[in-house]
Symmetry: D2
Subunit: 401 residues, 4 copies
């Protein structure tokens, strides 16, 4: 080993428990990582079957549904493909409602896989306007549109769509299209009620609010989706809902070998969610997101920082996208990461050098949010950025009560 008293090095304040505040994979609980660290069990009997049964039993309530969940090994894109594959056919017409980036990518997938895709794009900084959806669906008098795809929260823009309002718009138009919602960035963080809100397919994944390392998608299929499934011709064996529910060895649920380690992790995460309760989680995320927004608003200055989402009611509680005006967000992120021990989410798309994102999803609490905001405040000062006031003080004030 080298002599630590002799060598010199640039000073830094990063050498401690680093915080990766990107919007997923989120910070994993020690309990979850610990649960994953164990030998492979027999996969045909014993403990793993209990873990799997309890996992599948717990998942419907997470999405606010009585419908069953599917757990394909895969990431969020795998969840998207399972949703499309099981409900649609080549040539089907799909309406995509995009308020950022991810609904659009899902739509690109549908197009690649053989559907005709039409996209309604919200103005930059805004959620989908339900009236526009209603208008488009009323115009589809022949009911050519088989499915409406959107996101609950867009991970890029941190904008949250009003899912019940979109459902109401579909209903107002009297349109029978399936309603499929990507909740990858919001599940476990924000209020979501699949059955009450009339959603047919919900897609999520393990690595954000569900506090489990990436590798599992979560897909809930309601009765109308399962009915559509019967006639879908995009079905393949790996994704097939019917095959995954056939009688027989439980491992049909995974179409092959179950993802043992990730299941141990998800099972522990579900236990933690049950202990905290979903309403408590929703409130926690609401309050912590409020603190983040209070900080940005305190920092706000001409040529300086601002929230990307224009409408307060459309701002996600799990991720916040921040425009940085004249401030170089690449440099801001570099200072935070290299000198302070905080990794921020990069801005996505055209604004990579004038925006960044803070993930506050899943296993997140007051000191983590305040620590991230404090680090940003230090970095802003280093850059002599235009700043209205102390964001971290405003965030602390917002958390009182």
């Amino acid at each position: 080993m080298t002599d630590p008293q002799l060598t010199s090095q640039l000073s830094h304040l990063a050498a401690g428990p680093e915080i990766v505040a990107i919007p997923g994979p989120s910070v994993m609980p020690e309990r979850v990582l610990g649960a994953m660290h164990r030998s492979m069990p027999d996969i045909y009997s014993g403990m793993i079957t209990t873990v799997i049964d309890e996992t599948f039993d717990a998942l419907p309530a997470i999405a606010g549904t009585t419908s069953r969940a599917f757990v394909p090994i895969g990431n969020g894109h795998a969840g998207w493909e399972m949703a499309l594959s099981n409900t649609l056919s080549r040539g089907d017409h799909v309406l995509v409602l995009d308020c950022g980036r991810f609904a659009q990518i899902w739509g690109e997938m549908a197009e690649f896989n053989g559907c005709r895709v039409e996209t309604i794009t919200a103005p930059v900084g805004y959620a989908i306007d339900p009236a526009v959806v209603e208008e488009r669906l009323r115009a589809d008098t022949g009911h050519e549109i088989q499915a409406v795809l959107t996101v609950h929260v867009d991970t890029a823009t941190s904008i949250r769509n009003d899912i019940p309002a979109i459902r109401a718009a579909i209903d107002a138009a009297g349109h029978p299209a399936l309603f499929m919602v990507d909740c990858i960035a919001s599940m476990g963080c924000e209020e979501y009620r699949m059955d009450d809100w009339g959603v047919d397919v919900t897609v999520a994944a393990s690595q954000k609010g569900m506090m489990t390392p990436p590798g599992l998608a979560l897909v809930w299929a309601g009765p109308r989706a399962l009915a559509a499934h019967q006639g879908a011709d995009l079905r393949t064996r790996y994704w097939d809902w019917t095959y995954r529910t056939e009688d027989g060895p439980y491992y049909l649920r995974f179409c092959g070998t179950p993802p043992v380690s990730l299941l141990f992790g998800l099972h522990e995460a579900l236990q933690m969610i049950a202990e905290e309760t979903l309403p408590a989680r929703w409130e926690r995320h609401t309050r912590l997101a409020g603190a983040v927004r209070a900080a940005v608003e305190a920092w706000a200055a001409p040529e300086g920082l601002s929230l990307l989402a224009m409408q307060p009611s459309q701002r996600s509680h799990s991720v916040t996208s921040i425009r940085t005006g004249s401030v170089d967000s690449i440099e801001l992120s570099r200072i935070c990461r290299e000198r302070l021990g905080v990794t921020l989410g990069v801005g996505i798309g055209d604004h990579a050098d004038s925006s960044f994102r803070i993930g506050h999803m899943g296993h997140v609490n007051a000191p983590m949010v305040l620590g991230v905001l404090g680090a940003v405040e230090v970095a802003l000062a280093e850059l002599d950025a235009p700043v209205g006031g102390s964001g971290v003080a405003a965030a602390a004030a917002a958390l009182d009560g």
Copy 2:
């Protein structure tokens, strides 16, 4: 806590480091589980990109090819679907060569996904006869068969096909069909040379010889497969080889969020393989499998145990299927598991109660194999099974030299 001096319990010899000797998921190295136990990194830069680059750099040599590997999040079935989806079209004719169970299931997948499937089934206890393949392909004068699918080792029967001989049969017939081989049960354990042996697509998975928990498939695609890929109409976005090789953020390789924890594990496992070297692994598996077979042959007796695979040259070095004759294999397995701490693989198919399997794949050494065989010997004695001699003594003798 209860008083351990007062409570009584059935005595047992299982309370120690349990061995799960099923043919996958195999016993995971401590180094691999340890490597997986870490916080989520930034997924856009830094250390994870090195891990991913080194992983993709190392994978071709594992399969004996210069062709690139794809690493879909998923199990072996996901690897199968990626292989089919990227190379075939609806209505394509596929020839399946089955010597047990798994090639057949792969064929069922192809059929479900839109292909016409024809199966050549080897006699029970035997590998595929290349002459039969040659004959069938010669008869396909119109070259309707687009692909030949088979397994290197069948996990159910522990029979190993002679891949170079099947390739020679295809060549002898002058047939252009793609040759796709499932090496899920053999990769990292048995000699395999994709390029030398003329294989177009190789499929494997993380959880057996690759010593990484289940959740990653491995698919190597040779030049002819990549050419066929251009015209395949089963392609979907999630599996698509082209999308996974596009310029852009490295995470396109995973069509979305990379499976961070499993990649840490696979990276460590590849490091271990590099340290040991593949030829040393192949020899290790050969010798340990020889010990297992020596044990079974020593136990062999009328109405007693025997090897399922009839031909010595067709016996896998990673798994051994054993017929138990008049001995109740369910009870044998129960004694091993509950009283001795060894979980055996169940027999698959019609012979569930008169066969069992021993996995000896991946992270396996002399004491593990001898411990498993010793436990079986104890259980055979408990059952008063007909036994010719000491299998574990024969196994130890076989390992000398």
Copy 3:
């Protein structure tokens, strides 16, 4: 990474789950290592206080006593020093009963610390003869001897003393000396009943039968020892029993900061012991030790292997010392370690090159013992050692029933 298909290496059968079969530290349960892998808690309140309370509540029954346990941070030697320091004074006369090596070292410690030490040494291969003890104590008419020190099991020779018989000898002599017993190699493995057997101080440690990594000693002090404690002048603050039982913050129990990680481990190990029950553990160790001895007796041959302990009733159930006659035990161990993945315990003392030891203590089961014996059998064959028959076959036969 290097190309694993090109590099060559000496073949070996060790690349798998290595077994370290030395007589301590023993093989640690996955549950114990997992329990230790967690963040530091508050040490003043909350969960750690529960862990500590439950640990101290559970410890008396482990030793078969109602007396309290002390848990000094330290190894077995620390336990020895705590025992001496709390009960003796400079100039006290101590009688050591040695049947190998460790009682003697304990005696050297007593001498160094200021006592006068006299040692009774059993003939090589034999336990202490209680009659000799009785005779010596009868001769001590002035009751100058303050304490009798011995071991339950000597880790070097694997000889077990008959503690109740020695107690009876002390009683027969009508001698008031304190009776202190080192159970480091036997606690949790072999039957031990401190109160019934009239032991005044029992010393153990975490790293053998207690299945917890080294770093904790365990000392149980009976009423006569606590009475002697009042007048002992070797007392120091760090070891002091009174200080460790004073009213006040619980951490006085550790004379300072508690050893958090090791306590998490010990707590989990105690939970496992409670689940299995002590009588079941004693029987497990008895039967597994029987298998080891059956193997050695089967191997036995002129110029070959033999058990060091001459009397069956004096053979430990947690460790077995084996003489190797003309066989080079250094080379035997090297083959086992480098080529087979089994580390044997070295012979201690004069016979380092003609003896070895097998630890079978704590977290040990049938396949582990059979795997170790199988590896030894392979190595014996490699060395062309004189061998009577198959030891591993004999061991498997011994485990039946």
Copy 4:
């Protein structure tokens, strides 16, 4: 599992990565906990001997000395006892310099173990005045005082003594007493140069700045201490420096079985220190401590918070003790722990309900400190505590540059 959508619970902001900001055990690096999580190795050869050699090689530089280190299994109190035991004799006169609590407790230990102890106590809130030391030593014309004991940083008061100035005072008095310094709370955090500063014995422990779970003490002995050792009559075998340096098996260094898991951890921590370098660590702690003090000074208000240490130059960089005036510190800590996920150090001694402590030692960085301060600020607001201004904003400002 219970239904997480139905159950309700008090809202809280604590469900995330909890920060235990007590002054030790400190927050352990993931790398250290990971390094500890591995099977027991052979303790007589191989890898563990490398780990131990590298550890002992690295330790002198940590304390700024060329003298060797001893690593007794134990906590800080064990380090104290090793220091006393190896250098002093019954009846020796010891001068204790106390500026809080811990030097005093060390003195109590010396007294219990047989020394005559005299204590100089600094006024509350102040470090030891070297002039007072010089005066006392000048008066000891017969050189009856064998040793001067003090702390570098007192963990209770967070006051740092000026060790070079005390050394100068001893020299000015021409006094030959050994100078022993407890650096338990400062080692690895604050500049310390044993050789340059003329310290004879330095005591530290693993669980604070050394970033390793509790269970190892660290004792460095300089030439004058080793000379005194020859004549010390408090020596015992377990602590004995000579025995721990005898030729022979390396485990003499631990007087028995080495503490394997903790050594793996310490080895990794030393590697991290080497990577960062000690000067960088000292600067990091200085700057983070400055941020904590800036926060307290910003909060300061009549009847409100203030720093316990009165002189800026006497304020520790690893821990900060804070008086809370009229604010109930018990309630403040409860809110932080239960509602915000931050555990503060309790006030020690008479001021348990009007003081608290923040540990910022070892593995600590900007977001951790800012997160803790932010949580305190939220709790102060909840309590309607008198507050001058935003402490967390002041801390962020202090970290700029």
